[in-house]
């Protein structure tokens, strides 16, 4: 479904991705983990074609995303749903208008059909009673659920989720995680989830990958991941300060 082949990417001279290889199978829920700023969100933006790699290729189905012209890219993006870390709902539109936006702009559906689909999606995420509110009037968890409804409104084949449970309280985080599992299962969509929240990652994932210093250093089923001998993965999962992550820089922090 999605393939990253030897992808290299740098921002202002700093290498973010170095020869990344990734293969995502249909209907799996791949969780990409890694430290903040390790390039996880960059991978999602590369898949969407918002960023272009310095070298290497990004494939979604048969399309080589980094070579598509703007018009074709816009058509391909309609098969991908993206849920942003901070929801990215259009602040001047109501919840209903936000969810209806892709349908109104990209399909020929009538007003009543759109209303029906929007109500259905909002009901799935338990947000039907907020449809006339503006995003500013919602809590973080509610915004995430609306963003999820918007991301799924076109029934995309691929759903990309950037830190879906970051900044949410544990109960709401579980609600959002379960929604992701249920909705993607129901729609048979493939999903790529970027997160550094361990509990959430293990709850959602059917497969996991760890990104460290621009490379995928470990990949596999959640169970295999838990037993990984890789010191970086082990330290990341345990949250310990002892290990290769932050080596050197931690001493400097402690000295302060």
């Amino acid at each position: 479904m999605v393939q990253l082949r030897d992808v290299n990417m740098q921002f202002e001279g700093k290498k973010v991705l170095e020869g990344v290889l990734l293969n995502v199978q249909p209907q799996e829920r791949l969780v990409i983990m890694g430290q903040s700023g390790s390039g996880k969100s960059t991978i999602l933006r590369l898949i969407l074609g918002i960023l272009r790699p310095d070298s290497g290729s990004v494939f979604f189905k048969q399309y080589e995303i980094n070579r598509l012209k703007r018009r074709k890219l816009q058509q391909v993006r309609q098969q991908i749903g993206m849920v942003y870390q901070y929801s990215a709902l259009l602040s001047s539109l109501t919840v209903r208008q936000n969810v209806a936006l892709p349908l109104e702009e990209l399909t020929d559906k009538s007003g009543s059909e759109i209303d029906k689909i929007v109500d259905e999606k909002l009901e799935l995420v338990g947000m039907l009673d907020t449809k006339d509110l503006l995003p500013d009037e919602l809590s973080g968890g509610m915004r995430k659920r609306v963003a999820l409804a918007r991301g799924l409104v076109l029934d995309p084949e691929l759903v990309l989720l950037d830190e879906p449970s970051a900044g949410l309280d544990p109960v709401i985080a579980t609600v959002v995680d379960e929604l992701i599992i249920n909705l993607t299962q129901k729609s048979k969509a493939t999903s790529i989830i970027v997160t550094h929240e361990m509990e959430s990652a293990f709850r959602i994932a059917t497969r996991m990958a760890m990104l460290y210093e621009g490379k995928i250093i470990e990949e596999g089923e959640p169970e295999k991941f838990k037993q990984s001998k890789n010191p970086v993965v082990a330290q990341f999962l345990s949250g310990s300060t002892e290990g290769p992550i932050l080596e050197g820089s931690l001493d400097a922090i402690r000295k302060k």
Partner: protein
């Protein structure tokens, strides 16, 4: 040694080249921005769909046009009043105060109306467009629109550009009328020129080409201001500080461009169509 200090702070030849390069890059970017917006909108029209929502065009039109009428009207009224008064006293010395109506009417329809409107729109609407789109850019709203497969240029920039393009000439006309009305009051109060005689004098001196020149300029200014504002808004980087920097830059660039284009327009126009 202030002179030595000033000399040290002067840009060297390499810096001058860099400034020129940046300037040309910016001009090119804004030009491409206009073309890309037009292309995205036309592609949509070719698909048999509206390039943007009518509601968003009307919302921007009300904001940019209708809501600007009081400001444009008031400033032009005061300027027309001052102009008529000051020129009137000078002309009175030669007994030619009946030239005031024509002078104010020509000056405003051809030059001051579009220019003042342009400057006010750049400050009032250009800043608002940049700040609004810049905030959307910072909050990833623009990227979200793009990620959905919706062209952000046609969806966000095109309705704003069309609104300002169409409404700048209307506001320019409001400016002209307000200034002429103000000068008619001055003429009546200070120079004993009756209103009907004032209108005759305006009609005698004003040519259709003066009006057309002013209107054409206004269309151009409207498009330039909106394009610069939207371009600056959609290229914001660096969070809230970036929004502030780009908003300031948008207003400064738009005002400078409006005055610059006005000069170029006048030079070209007077060379090709001398009176």
């Amino acid at each position: 040694m202030p002179n030595a200090e000033a000399r040290r702070n002067m840009p060297g030849p390499l810096e001058v080249v860099e400034i020129q390069r940046t300037f040309l890059r910016e001009v090119g970017s804004i030009f491409w921005f206009i073309l890309n917006t037009l292309q995205e909108s036309m592609e949509r029209v070719q698909q048999g769909r509206a390039p943007f929502r009518a509601a968003s065009f009307f919302r921007e039109s009300v904001r940019a046009g209708v809501d600007s009428v009081p400001l444009v009207g008031l400033v032009s009224f005061f300027l027309g009043l001052t102009m008529a008064l000051l020129t009137g006293y000078q002309l009175q010395r030669f007994g030619t105060e009946r030239l005031i109506p024509g002078l104010v009417a020509i000056a405003f329809t051809r030059e001051l109306g579009p220019l003042l409107t342009g400057i006010m729109l750049a400050a009032r609407i250009g800043a608002a467009f940049t700040a609004e789109l810049g905030t959307m850019q910072v909050n990833e709203e623009v990227e979200a629109v793009e990620a959905m497969g919706i062209g952000p240029l046609r969806f966000l920039a095109a309705p704003r550009m069309l609104a300002l393009f169409l409404l700048a000439p209307c506001l320019s006309t409001v400016s002209n009328l307000a200034a002429v009305l103000a000068s008619s009051l001055v003429c009546k109060a200070y120079f004993s020129i009756a209103f009907l005689y004032f209108l005759d004098l305006v009609k005698d001196s004003l040519l259709i080409r003066d009006i057309i020149t002013g209107i054409l300029k206004s269309f151009l200014f409207g498009l330039l201001i909106a394009s610069i504002a939207c371009y600056r808004g959609l290229t914001v980087k660096g969070g809230a500080a970036g929004v502030g920097t780009n908003t300031t830059s948008s207003v400064v660039t738009a005002i400078t461009t409006v005055i610059g284009f006005d000069t170029v327009y006048n030079v070209v126009y007077t060379n090709f169509f001398p009176t």
